[in-house]
Symmetry: C3
Subunit: 316 residues, 3 copies
């Protein structure tokens, strides 16, 4: 694998999930492949799970880790080619990406969508430029439109908990006080579309995901109908793609509650976290045995560890 | 040991101090007990000694360390059960504690007292909730009311420097320009009460520590009288417990000076640092051979290393 | 070597550069000399290359690293001896330096010039005091007046790319929108003066470097004349030493362009980065094969690794 920013970088989803399961069984057993390797983690936005799970993944592999909050600890980056840099930007992304590549064997990069410029966000303007100038493999730690490390952890979690070969998986929009990126649902849709699960997306009118990632998934605008017979309910808020960045916190009847869960086939509940309790999902669902959210978070370690191995040319 | 937030977690103070002395003699000799273990350090407040000594302790044990400034690098945490999280708080402590537990074998947490809400502070509201939801052992890196890693280092330092079996130890209040928590003096009192030293607390009227920690220690409101024949003088400012959070920077005659030290039995001078020079203690005392403050700071490493070993089930 | 803050700490420049070349060939081959050693990195200013390359250097040696942004994560330091610390400063540099020395085998310190107080800057007020109270070797990660880790990397880079025994090296001032310290050019001049290269400094009138570091180097105020037959062009902005801290962003004819490079002997282009594109140097020069800037950044790792070895008593 050359980089890991999307499912498109993955040769075989099955093989990747299989390796993740092996890594989880024997997390310290792969060190000889990654000796003397260094992971650099660049954060342009806050992060808890990704920050810690990526470090833990590297530690499990005996790798060294350098964490940098670029916005706070480093320089302000210029993105535009040909810019005359006589204003506030101190370093061009060309130099930054090439220089950081001198010190790391793999670079993880975290950026968020602007939610104001749809074209730039969906062109992955920053990540694309960074990869163009980087000289080592790059892992997305969540980008403007995708979050593939989360999706790999999610598929691993479903594989561990599914009771039938082709479970019904429902990705449901849920309310949130602030407009959020589409990265997690886009990515989840992209990955689940690559499985043979029965996949349904439930969201209000005006909140359909980009066709690029939603693909041929069935989209239903009635949440109750969508939840019927679900084996897995993956809740997540996202702001509108069509009316870019618009949110709808007033749609409180989309909150996942016990009553909603009763419509399902005793479904398991999933969320990428952080989650707004009693807004996205009620306490009773989150605190019930149906909730897999902590297991998803745990699987982030093995997801990152698996991707690091593949980027460092491990052959499984 | 399940957690380390107070002397109450310690089976035998003697055995713990004994192990700390062994660790100090052979700091790199305990790695086989802690292989592949990871320490997470969560800071909600500034820290220098604790931040560095905890890392050094983990390094000496061959452990990996993840440091997170939660307030700056992560999410804003909700503490209240049942909260409808539609305002600024992004993640509930329930998820945060459980998730971080997925990535660490031990979690260190640093929080300070509010000094405005005595009940919350003395209930250790934050730390208690964090421990309740954490799935691995938790070390206090200083909490609202106690600082046990400091106290273990302090007892080790006294043991190394005492010339008689039962030295007279005086904990003396000292002035400070700002109101400070009671964590260090509370904890010192709790630990010294568990030794057989002759223990005296000297503080102005209105600055008696909570009975919960001061216990049966002799309290004297006249500093000169208290210092008489002391073998160790432990200076520290704290704000009032009774008149909660009130300070008294004007009581400059409580500063520890050479003249005050002459009242003692050639006592050693101790302070947890950071120290306000010429406010808490004069330059001449701090720069004299009587000062143990740097040795106390050094012992923080072995204190943390010892506690990590015990939390990871090392049997001495 | 006791500390590394200037070329004055170096016994033999030749031997140091020779060791750096050996380290570069076999970066992981020196671990047995540095087992169980810890590097502390203290930043009082932003840093990307130095932050990452110093960590990478320590990792290559199997050392542990602690990074601290002192201004954000720690306490505000008092510098003055005898100060009555009843204002905002929380810890004296005396304690800070001695305490950090308890947890690290080598301490790296990054500070910048004030550019307002020439006397303090050129006395290296902060670094001198820190070293005075530190109990372990100190590495400058750039100080008010010098940047020796950069200079060692620069000399290594020139040695790798020179085609004749005594190349002509031109250090040229270049424009910049903001006033910058003189640390990099001072240090470069100090180190190149210690080689047998043909060394010329080109800068506008009023921008001559301090004699302390420029030494006997030929200074030419006409850039075109200076560049003639150059083998290496090292561009860098600096603010005025004479008219302390004054900058001259309007001197845009000092930008290094392809046309300027045609005056040279097919010179290689060097810069310490970060660089303002199309202000200090044009895109076409920086993106050409003549540019060594990424190789310079790469050599920062081996420069730091070499200095760490010498400070930890490695004998080559």
């Amino acid at each position: 694998m050359k980089n890991f920013i999307s499912l498109n970088n993955v040769d075989s989803l099955d093989a990747l999930v299989q390796l993740a399961a092996e890594v989880k069984k024997n997390p310290f057993g792969f060190k000889k492949h990654t000796e003397n390797k260094t992971l650099g983690l660049l954060f342009f936005n806050p992060s808890l799970r990704t920050r810690l799970s990526s470090q833990k993944a590297a530690f499990n592999l005996g790798m060294q880790v350098m964490v940098m909050n670029v916005d706070k600890d480093g320089w302000v980056l210029e993105m535009e080619d040909g810019a005359v840099m006589n204003q506030g930007k101190q370093e061009h992304i060309k130099e930054a990406a090439a220089v950081i590549s001198q010190y790391c064997d793999v670079i993880g990069v975290r950026t968020f969508a602007s939610l104001t410029n749809k074209e730039d966000d969906y062109a992955e303007a920053f990540l694309s430029k960074f990869i163009k100038h980087a000289l080592v493999p790059v892992i997305s730690l969540e980008s403007a439109t995708l979050h593939p490390l989360q999706s790999l952890a999610d598929v691993l979690t479903i594989e561990e908990h599914k009771k039938i070969a082709k479970p019904k998986v429902v990705l449901s929009w849920a309310p949130h006080p602030k407009p959020l990126p589409q990265a997690v649902p886009n990515s989840f849709a992209q990955w689940i579309n690559a499985t043979d699960y029965d996949f349904v997306i439930a969201n209000p009118e005006g909140f359909d995901l980009s066709k690029e990632f939603a693909g041929s998934a069935k989209v239903i605008h009635n949440q109750d109908e969508a939840l019927k017979d679900a084996d897995f309910v993956y809740a997540k808020n996202w702001s509108s793609y069509q009316n870019y960045g618009k949110s709808a916190p007033e749609l409180t009847d989309w909150t996942i509650t016990s009553k909603k869960m009763k419509l399902t086939q005793q479904a398991k509940f999933m969320h990428c976290l952080p989650v707004r309790r009693n807004v996205v999902v009620s306490d009773e669902v989150l605190d019930s045995d149906a909730s897999l959210v902590i297991e998803q978070a745990n699987n982030r370690t093995f997801s990152a560890q698996t991707v690091l191995l593949k980027l460092l040319d491990y052959e499984n």
